[in-house]
Symmetry: C2
């Protein structure tokens, strides 16, 4: 974990990892500084005056006089904050656009994709500059390297359009040159590549607004519902990796086609994609053998991922469009969580905050604005409805909310149809409600029928035996138990919540805080969004804090992917998390089992 | 043109463009400095002590103590020479290999392609570094970015070979990881992509020696013999560009296959290719519209070319192998000439030297170790045998040497068969010899038959009229003139040599020297190699200097391509020529025509 330094921008003080640029530090906290190159050190517009020790960069002497340098003037994008600083930002010449993304995050628009329409002077025998030099000279605030595609298109684009062309620059590369003025068309696609569901958002990078959204089931589903099954599939048959990679590409390509069609956008005007996914999904999508992710000691092929093109992911947009992939912190804290941390500002909040992405693999992050710890807890498939008698995914017919009192049971069912099963949030509700009234004791045992007849006459009929196992019936069909909670289901949930609670308790200890110091709990992921905060507290899944401080953060991975497209500075922030977050491995802790057993009971 | 600075390494003083690294300056002059990273600033072994002002680089403080820095110690690869310096180089720890390439150039082997065999420690639950981090940590002297292909192959390569693998690094990229120790297999292919002939040399990059050579006619031939015809073909039919690109790829791929087969080398062990060619050949090979090269104001798409892969040129070697392409100085002074300048050390010799590549387009470079001027003269196709009555290429049956004295004519014919035509060197010889004895006067007029009968009775019969034109017969078949030189042929040669002589004379004036100051003339290209220096002087094609100072440099473009593969430092030298050489455009000079007419006569 790197040290943090304090930077004050007028009244506002922020803490960032040492070595971060002043420009990024400001961007991450919503403070805009002038810039047209987006932070590459080429436009020399991000002039700030720094109080404190900051080295003179190689570009500073070209931007400032010696007196100015002595007075602390520096280019913010090249000024590395190695110690505490006070920074004075001149009034903005142009107010940059911003967009609300993520968990209430205001993001200053600095997309990697930039367009510049320029009209060049025609070459003559006394000005024989090459086409590329002529163009680059006109893009004086950008100094990109040049892709072959751009060189191929440039001669014709210039000569057929009276030397008016639009340069398409993505990050530090000139990826294409388009005839005429196409600056208004500038798009990117953010993908949330989930194990189950994949979501694509087409973003207008000029405004930061979504132009279309589409989602579908990951076409890898037939190879297994969860990551472990899919990893196992690749281990059994060497051809499976290629097939899974193909399915991932097919899924991404289908969604890309859909969002472009829906918005009426030419896919050739999509110049970048961003991809958030867990380590297994990303390795499969990139064709990297996932086997070492699935067996101890759980090793990712690479935390930061190589620069690849959208085409390498099978996505048919502009052929030069790069694909930004969020780095993974470990085999079970992947790029989806890094994206989620970005979207929820886990690294930029002074409060003690706990981030929990509930699922088969539950990722947990704890931060206090100074340090960040992450871990993964093997919760098992209970929340996905697997290993639960009447379990099912959150689909039509799933019981998603359960209320139980002495008089009876009320259910809320997805799509208001007849209940056919119990999804994760319904499972948590059912258990929490039964614990609440006492039909389940704190050890997780269902009350004996005789006791129930006495204490809960209206409910006692629901205590039955099905297939030799005690159950609590939630719904009857033709007088037969149709949807119910079994004793073993309760055990499954206990195991799951114990794994999660052990995880965050160990992080709380590692950080040296107390459970009650936690000021906010973010429940991430699709499951987290539907969970009742009160019931999550009641079963001990999350710390016992006021319910209003438990926030459903929604699809933070997808939000993080959008942010990466909208701002290179935010993306740099995500990449910086690799050094910032300390990954805590639970599986080799000698005290894990004891702690786990302590957490099995309900509070 | 950039300024030059003086650097002394002990007794040896060199002059290099300001801004060049001390490491490159030493390399270019055969002075070896320790290094394992090849000059990327990562191995920190190129320690030198500098007398004179050199900025402290960002890596220097990690390599030296404050006292050492104050004493002038710097890493040579990051030390930019901005003014005159004296450099002390510590004794070498390992003596690097060197190879003789080009025109007597000793090249220190620093190929972009490097291999490192490493054995890594196995991951554990307490050491969960990713596979890529584990590998990069072991390559502590290199800090490459990582290609997707390498990430794909790494997990299996490690786990199936007891964690012993060979990293393949090309320039600043990790392009692959191979199981076991493959360090002995490290190859590159140097291509000389000529308009007529294409040559490929497979180089063993560990030793610098050629493993196989192959050549063939450029498969673009059916589209035209010279660059202008091929450019015109693309202008007439929009599909022709694609076809010409395909033909170039086919030619390169065939040759690559041949050299690998001949040497028994797996094409997958060829990790880089280098390509020297004129601007038209290179643009066609890269699929870039050549039209602006063919019409005034003669503009290249890009002087420095984008980073491309061998695969982008249709060459099936290692899929991650990059292709280095020599930059072009202008539409008619292309990468072949830059390669030739590199191979002949035009920028590193204190003598006044003239480099002439004779052909349809004749490229001329003049340098004095301080400044370099280049131009292109439109010599026309006479040297290629086109527009010459009995002209032909230098192929079997071509008269290549002609000796004429008062008693008769002696011919030397390629492959010693019956003469069928006259190639460029034979044409120059025939004209020069006839001028020598006086059968041609200095204005280029053949002597009247009556005068010849009187002065050259043994030769007079050879003066005939064929198809209404006066000729001098060189060879008879069945008593009929079979191979002869016509009056119009002489005129064609006069035009060609006048264009060339005007070119170098203007450069001589621009440089501010006199013709007799020229200490060496390098005749480059396949034609130049066969030209008789004495006769080149006699007709005024080259300056009038002692014949021994006129040197046939051979295929310098191909030699330059080899040097680029063998040394990144040499390659940097070629790229530096872009800033070093001043291109002089002849076609817009108001005095060109007058000067041209002055040069038509023979001296």
């Amino acid at each position: 974990m790197t040290d943090r330094v304090r930077i004050s921008f007028g009244d506002k003080e922020v803490r960032v990892p040492a070595g971060v640029s002043v420009f990024d530090a400001a961007s991450w906290h919503g403070i805009a500084i002038d810039s047209t190159c987006g932070g590459h050190g080429t436009c020399r517009k991000c002039r700030v005056r720094v109080d404190g020790q900051v080295e003179v960069s190689t570009s500073d002497p070209r931007a400032f006089s010696e007196d100015e340098l002595a007075a602390g003037w520096r280019l913010a994008c090249l000024a590395r904050a190695g110690c505490d600083l006070a920074v004075e930002v001149p009034p903005l010449v142009t107010r940059p656009k911003a967009a609300m993304v993520g968990v209430g995050r205001q993001v200053i628009l600095r997309p990697a994709v930039q367009k510049r329409c320029v009209t060049l002077t025609e070459p003559t025998l006394t000005d024989q500059r090459s086409d590329v030099e002529r163009l680059l000279d006109a893009l004086d605030d950008l100094e990109p390297s040049v892709d072959l595609q751009a060189v191929r298109n440039l001669p014709k684009a210039l000569r057929e359009n009276d030397y008016t062309v639009t340069a398409v620059v993505v990050d530090d590369r000139l990826v294409d040159v388009e005839p005429g003025d196409t600056t208004a068309q500038r798009y990117g696609i953010a993908f949330d590549l989930g194990t189950t569901t994949v979501v694509a958002t087409l973003l207008d990078l000029s405004t930061g607004t979504p132009a279309a959204v589409a989602s579908m089931l990951n076409a890898q589903q037939p190879f297994g519902a969860d990551v472990i099954t899919r990893i196992s599939a690749t281990m059994l048959d060497p051809d499976t990796l290629g097939r899974l990679t193909g399915r991932a590409h097919e899924t991404l390509a289908t969604l890309a086609g859909e969002v472009c069609a829906e918005a009426g956008v030419d896919p050739g005007r999509v110049y970048e994609v961003a991809l958030a996914g867990n380590a297994t999904m990303i390795q499969l999508a990139l064709g990297i053998d996932p086997e070492p992710l699935g067996v101890a000691p759980f090793v990712v092929a690479s935390r930061a991922l190589p620069r690849v093109l959208a085409a390498d992911l099978g996505v048919r947009v502009h052929p030069g469009a790069p694909a930004y992939t969020f780095p993974a912190l470990g085999a079970y804290v992947g790029g989806d969580i890094v994206a989620g941390m970005l979207a929820s500002g886990m690294d930029r909040d002074k409060r003690v905050r706990l981030f929990v992405d509930v699922g088969t693999n539950c990722e947990i992050v704890l931060g206090d604005g100074h340090r960040l710890l992450a871990t993964a807890a093997p919760a098992g498939p209970a929340f996905e409805g697997a290993a639960i008698r009447c379990g099912m995914r959150a689909a039509p017919g799933a019981v998603e909310v359960v209320k139980v009192d002495e008089d009876g049971v009320r259910l809320q069912v997805i799509d208001d149809v007849e209940p056919v099963g119990l999804c994760g949030s319904g499972l948590v509700d059912a258990v929490a409600e039964l614990v609440g009234i006492g039909l389940l004791d704190s050890s997780g045992r269902l009350m004996a029928e005789a006791d129930a007849r006495e204490k809960f006459p209206a409910l006692a009929d629901r205590l039955r035996e099905v297939a030799g196992e005690r159950v609590f019936v939630l719904h009857w069909r033709d007088d037969e138990p149709a949807v119910y909670l079994s004793q073993r289901d309760v055990r499954e949930l206990q195991f799951a919540k114990a794994a999660i609670a052990t995880g965050w308790r160990l992080l709380v200890e590692e950080l040296g805080v107390a459970e009650e110091d936690i000021q906010q709990v973010l429940l991430a992921g699709s499951f987290g969004s539907y969970l009742s905060p009160a019931n999550a507290v009641r079963i001990g899944l999350v710390p016992k804090i006021p319910v209003l401080r438990i926030v459903s953060a929604g699809n933070v991975a997808g939000e993080g992917a959008k942010m990466a497209l909208l701002s290179m500075r935010e993306r740099a922030g995500a990449d910086a998390l690799l050094e910032e977050v300390r990954y805590v491995e639970l599986s080799d802790r000698p005290d894990f089992n004891d702690r786990f057993i302590e957490q099995l009971a309900f509070p």
